[in-house]
Symmetry: C3
Subunit: 674 residues, 3 copies
């Protein structure tokens, strides 16, 4: 028996092409004259990768079984001649109108039982055999024609998978999925707790998706339905991926993820993607989006592991799907590309190459704007392409993180069900608040699953670990036992894998680990002003949430002051095994959280990449290279002890750096570089 | 001919058991080992009543016609052995999945025509014969097995009736209901005013429920549909009640109400409930909920009349169905139980006995919390059980009220239709604002219908009497003629029984009673600052609403100052017959309202139970016993002239009482007690 | 060949009756005794026009094919005897219940595919042949009976056309409409840009209305659907109009419009209406509604052109369909009537004559209020009737405007699609902001289409000209070339007739006209404080929007200060041909906008009707007569140079006028009048 050879990844492209630069190219929107101009402009901008065909189904198969591949052939040739590699997409994200028209059962049904129409995109039911068979046929045709084309460097299956469907076909598939998961009905009834509200199923056929009902649906059923949808969409993707690999085992196959997307468990998907590819559109109108984008980059980097990751989509300016679409400036556009590279990206691609004049995304920015070449935007696109070519040394470097943050999709779903103690305790907000503390001090973090190997991390943070299955509990216990430092946030360890609340003083199964236990979760009254008092953390207000805790061996780091928990522990630290477990039973103010996480990092000797980072400055180390990014609009002076060379400009930096507003430097230590 | 013997009520239980204490017990969620622990704990806590079987249908009849009653038999025996009486529920609030699966017509349809799914609860159509017949069968089976079981002390039909349905079967029933009400189509057309907008019906078959339409539905049709839904649900309840009474005429039968629930006219329901039983979940995060809960208690007490009332459901901590679920502290939980008892309750039960680990209500508090016995909550549950056993003397006492507040469901529905002058003039808010003035001065009130006998009351308040049918008008006139004091709030006497506006200067038919008449209702512009000026009430702002009034014999108590009604009367008093009628054509500020109602009470010599109540102190007299309740979190000194014994602690109180935060005393006058 | 004789219009009525005064009369709601009272009261109030029959279908045809016209005959006779002319309505806005009951396909379907019910009004599908045939039948019957009745002075078809429908019949009609517009599928695919998102249609049958879909529908499809709905409703109207004209070519036929209603392109409708008739309900609770109502009056006046216009519906007090319905005072009610007359109206009618006691509009004000004759309201109604009789000299006068404001429905629809750069840049708000500047200085404006003849205007403002088709572009260019002054607001000239973005530096095709071009639209970040600096306009803040502009020959009038556009042009002026084009690439503060438009008007010598108008004073000239209106509630002193006679009171005014709060004068210059 032989191990299967590892799948090809990003390196198969970057080894040859360097940093990937380009974007979605939708030539069917344009005339052949424009194609020629496009090819010329791509070359001018240093574009080396174009994703082609994402929305081409109706152009490739205008009627069922009638195929028109000539134009695509022509485009691929043209791009190849201009040194642009092709990321060839299967066009199955948007079936042509003829499919919904002839086979309405191929269209998705919403929670209300309403069958949705075509005229937008994503109008397919993942369980429809009509949709699946037509998808396979168009992929077969694509492979027959282009599998061996030398310009096709990678394959891109579908697009932004995400449409749930509640139709009867999906109900059937849901049942099969549940049968696989639970084996028999008794197990399912137990897993869903169907004795409550008289929901016991006596026949598999009785099970339906969580459709609109007179009141709130069983949360375990909903949790499983979300898992099912993720798996079902993954199955759809895998279907085509398998076909492609059979024909071209040497080419990477992927699809585009969407950062912290709630509709699919990307940790399950990651192994099936040869390249981790993200679509990410931080809102320039939201100051929080700066930290959020870094966090998303780190998620992708972690999912990619050694394989790296890339941006398949970002905006070169404004998007069009928010209410008020503030544009990224050209400086900020460049900054975000370099920030992603600092956080491990090996490619920076955009949606889309040329701005549409029609269709829903006609106001979505593009590398070639409506204004054309005579524009600041285009000049910036060309300059960035040039700049990326100088970054080849970066490709060898990898980000190393000493800190991990636990984040599980199942836990996210379960923790934000409709009937939890508080809809104000949001998983992503908690994650972001804790991550922000690392970001501000220039400490890198991986975003890991609760079941992942944690042994390599000096510190593990779990700001929101509501659902921890038995294996995850064991994993966290083992991590601490072996010397790790674990920080558990509020409402942790509440639920088991089915989303059932574990019985006993919480966190059930982890109380000895944290040396404390709790009786009651206490969403805070609006009128109360609760504080914590602490020698280590200082005194400060807390919001949203408190817990009624009791120390059972742990050291009380902070106590509540005021309200029904006056004098009770709020934050605890417990030496356990060779390690330490912290428990934070509230939502502290940023200042207290900063001191808390600062203390944890200090105890474990986790050091920032640069000391004393000024506000607005992001710093991240990719291997030996240090990316320093100024998010402020004005020049900021940054301490940078030592002697460095800026990879982008070649200039020397010694001990201190004056960084322009929205500028980035990539510092190479003198000793290494010189 | 013999009068039918009166129905058994609360006394059949309390005579034997004392105060009722306990809650919903859902043993199907637990293993037999847990049942044994539950029985032991119930005994420990002094629980004497458990509601069993509310959501047991799927556990009792896992497939149509296959019954599994063994477990229930076992549980009932076990509880009986531990001195816990059974409130046996028919499980028809949540049909098993097999019903909706096999007979989709048993599922309800919403306004949009969408048939709702199962997976939650309440998924039944009240008109479905499938649902009705299966309901009768399971009730027959329950009766066959448990009707004669000595532990079954009362019966509980369904649960929180409330689901409206707009299906074709309901359309048919709606037509029958209308035929009964109106006899012929002409009468219906007149009652609904169908000449407007060309809505005249020429055939009964044309009539449909008020389904989704392109614009606003006929308000009289909507009003009748709400009445129909209430009657239809009542009919559903009555169906089963009749079956039970036939078998056990000696046992009380009831269902659980939901305070001021807009979906059913509880005054119509009350005669059919042997025990008035309420579910009440004041929001600890809403300071207003303190007064609202007392008001709800008074509604239930009034509905119960001599029969008393009880809490069938309240929360022992937090609920789970609000967005942000603040928990009641253990002190507040006890306080709310004793407050209800002060307001006439003879039983204090909870949803639910043991906290679920799965299902939608897994975060709903319970008497046995997730944390189990090792918890402050459990210790408080035990202590409260003990305390309730000392309260037996309270059972003989009844609350007496000198004041009545008029509240009709039909009027509520009609007054808050979509197209009234202002959606800011809310019936319940008006009711609460006026009631608060009584609450703050320790004056008890009954909550009565406009057609009820008012002769026993010294003062009758009608803060929101929009719809008054002819009989109600005569009733109010007679009350004043006979010497009563009536206070009418704004927008009173507008509509007749069909919700039609009476023609003429308003309040049509009552203008001679109030000695004034009005021409126009005037919702206030946001920009206007209107005030009233008055010797009696002082000057102060008014909000939301003014009226263009003219005194016609009445004394002007307050006049408007500013706006289009500058100088016109705002509040009037008219001596009429042997009594007095007041009219308040605006929404005064609390201070003016306080002075106004204070003057009315003083004129009629209605005295508070204690003088000079400090803020946050609630005082209510139940017979000779005085309940004093401190809603504040800190100790408050309360004047209590005289000498008293605290029933709970035995301590003596003379003239003044220092009451701890969230504490309650029950004062027995020395002369009476000693 | 003969030219068709011009259609009869308002003059056919006003020549005989003077100013039209009256309202909707729905006698089917009342008994014959009330009819007699109504006729008497109409005469007392000077009512000379009653719209009868709008909602009478069910009363005229209680069952299919059974007609009952007797009561209507009686009412018409009665009114005729009291000198009230009849505006006879076809009752097709609200089909009787029997239609929806027997032929559900006659009911409309919403975006979700839900068929809406009856019980309100407007429950018809414009494509339903059942509805159309029954409509024709009832109109035929009406004509057979009343076409020759001398009291019938005009015809009123349907009511407030507006219901869209998404059913399969409408899908078919939509396809026919598209076939007419585009001829072949290739043209349609090009017009809708269907290559994007794989939406190419291969068969007409595939095309559907923009129903609910998983994501945002193609904007060109939506734009065409809105055009189709407008045309489809117009076709419905035209159907009946043709029938009426055939029988009585000498009577005017119309329907009632609804100011800036987004559901129909009234500029397409206007030629088919013999009388431009508006329904207008300014919200007295919204201070902005004062200017908005004048703007709406000016729209109607422009649509009417030489034919004039009238109010068919306004409120005499409060409406009932807002949440909080503040009433107009009697003074304000009169003011609004006279304001409309000042802006060209020749009739002032109301919904409705007598206040309903039942139905959805029972709280809608009426000329005869619920309170009846003994009311301030009724006395005011009588007084206003009297006053209107003195205004006969006004009828000969016409408003003349030197300024035009461009407003197109297609552009409005396209500019507010879901995926444009900002939903904060609202077309109507922009229109209102610019119009307000004219209003405040007493300058009249016509509201014209971008393709209309502009040669008569000294100034043309285009505050929101997003979509300009090729002809409109040529029209604007020609206007400037010939000496006009054009002011283009932000986001102008973006889209072509299909809503496609024109490629190039914007405004594509107009850059030489404005002597400038732009690269990027820049919705402003919430955090940014952007300003403009200008010698001419002064410095001030801007909001919502900036543009990245470059002067190419134009003079920079104002520059941005701050943000990404610091120093770039914000407002430009370009002498072009014999004229001037201004471009405003932002949303200036009112003060800067005032200076800007002031400068434009001054350059073109457009003078206010009165100098130095105080705040809250509206002044408009109708021919030689000057209407001066005080919107404030207190007396205001207004400069009125010269000597005048007030037409209403006969008093003389010299140089200055003290105008009471909410009062109006109509000034006739002494020289002319004397």
């Amino acid at each position: 028996m032989s191990t299967p050879s590892p799948r090809p990844g990003l390196a198969t492209l970057t080894d040859r092409l360097g940093f990937l630069y380009g974007g979605d190219y939708n030539p069917e929107q344009w005339s052949p004259e424009v194609w020629i101009e496009d090819a010329r402009l791509m070359q001018q901008a240093g574009v080396n990768l174009a994703t082609v065909g994402v929305f081409s189904w109706a152009s490739l198969e205008p009627e069922p079984g009638r195929f028109t591949f000539g134009w695509l052939q022509q485009v691929i040739e043209l791009l190849a001649e201009h040194d642009v590699a092709i990321d060839l997409a299967t066009p199955t994200a948007s079936p042509p109108p003829w499919m919904g028209h002839r086979w309405p059962e191929s269209l998705p049904v919403n929670r209300d039982g309403i069958r949705l129409g075509y005229g937008a995109r994503n109008h397919y039911c993942a369980s429809s055999s009509v949709y699946r068979e037509h998808s396979r046929r168009i992929v077969t045709e694509l492979l027959d024609r282009f599998a061996d084309h030398p310009a096709v460097a990678m394959w891109h299956v579908g697009n932004e998978y995400g449409t749930p469907c509640y139709c009867d076909l999906c109900a059937e598939r849901f049942r099969s999925w549940l049968q696989d998961r639970y084996g028999d009905l008794d197990a399912l009834n137990a897993a869903w707790g169907t004795t409550f509200w008289s929901q016991r199923y006596s026949d598999w056929a009785e099970i339906i998706p969580p459709r609109r009902a007179p009141y709130v649906i069983n949360p375990s059923q909903r949790l499983d339905f979300r898992r099912f949808i993720s798996d079902q969409l993954l199955d759809l993707y895998r279907d085509q991926r398998t076909m492609i690999i059979e024909r071209r085992p040497d080419l990477p196959v992927t699809t585009n993820l969407m950062r912290f997307y709630p509709g699919a468990d990307y940790r399950q998907w990651a192994p099936e993607l040869d390249i981790i590819a993200d679509d990410n559109y931080p809102d320039p109108n939201d100051p929080d989006s700066i930290v959020e984008a870094s966090l998303s980059n780190d998620l992708m980097r972690t999912l990619g592991g050694d394989r790296g990751w890339m941006y398949l989509e970002q905006a070169s300016g404004a998007v069009n799907w928010r209410g008020h679409n503030v544009a990224k400036s050209v400086r900020r556009t460049r900054l975000e590309s370099l920030r992603a590279i600092g956080r491990g990206a090996d490619g920076s691609c955009y949606f889309q190459w040329r701005a549409s004049t029609a269709g829903t995304e006609r106001f979505h920015a593009a590398l070639v704007p409506h204004a054309g070449e005579d524009s600041e935007r285009w000049r910036a696109v060309v300059a960035h392409g040039q700049e990326l070519r100088t970054l080849r040394p970066v490709l060898d470097q990898r980000v190393h993180a000493d800190v991990a943050i636990v984040f599980d999709w199942s836990s996210w779903w379960a923790a934000e069900e409709e009937t939890v103690p508080s809809d104000r305790l949001q998983v992503h907000a908690q994650l972001k608040a804790w991550y922000r503390q690392l970001w501000e001090r220039g400490v890198s973090a991986d975003i890991v699953g609760s079941g992942d190997d944690l042994s390599r991390y000096r510190v593990v943070l779990a700001p929101s670990a509501y659902l921890l299955d038995d294996a995850a509990q064991a994993n966290l216990r083992g991590y601490v036992a072996d010397g790790g430092a674990l920080v558990l946030g509020p409402f942790a360890g509440v639920a088991d894998r089915n989303g059932h609340v574990r019985r006993g003083r919480f966190p059930v199964g982890l109380t000895d680990l944290i040396g404390a236990s709790g009786e009651q979760w206490l969403p805070l009254p609006d009128a109360d002003e609760l504080r914590i008092e602490s020698d280590l953390l200082g005194n400060g207000p807390v919001t949203i949430w408190a817990e009624q805790l009791r120390a059972e061996g742990a050291e009380v780091i902070a106590s509540f002051s005021g309200g029904p928990v006056d004098g009770l522990p709020a934050v605890l630290r417990h030496r356990s095994g060779s390690g330490t477990a912290w428990y934070v039973g509230t939502v502290p103010a940023p200042e207290q959280l900063a001191r808390l996480l600062g203390a944890v990092l200090a105890e474990r000797d986790v050091r920032p990449v640069l000391p004393d980072l000024p506000s607005g400055i992001e710093a991240v180390r990719r291997g030996r290279l240090l990316f320093v990014i100024n998010h402020a609009s004005t020049t900021t002076s940054v301490p940078a002890p030592g002697s460095w060379r800026d990879l982008l400009t070649g200039r020397t930096v010694t001990d201190r750096l004056d960084l322009d507003g929205e500028d980035v430097v990539i510092l190479d230590p003198r000793s290494a570089a010189g």
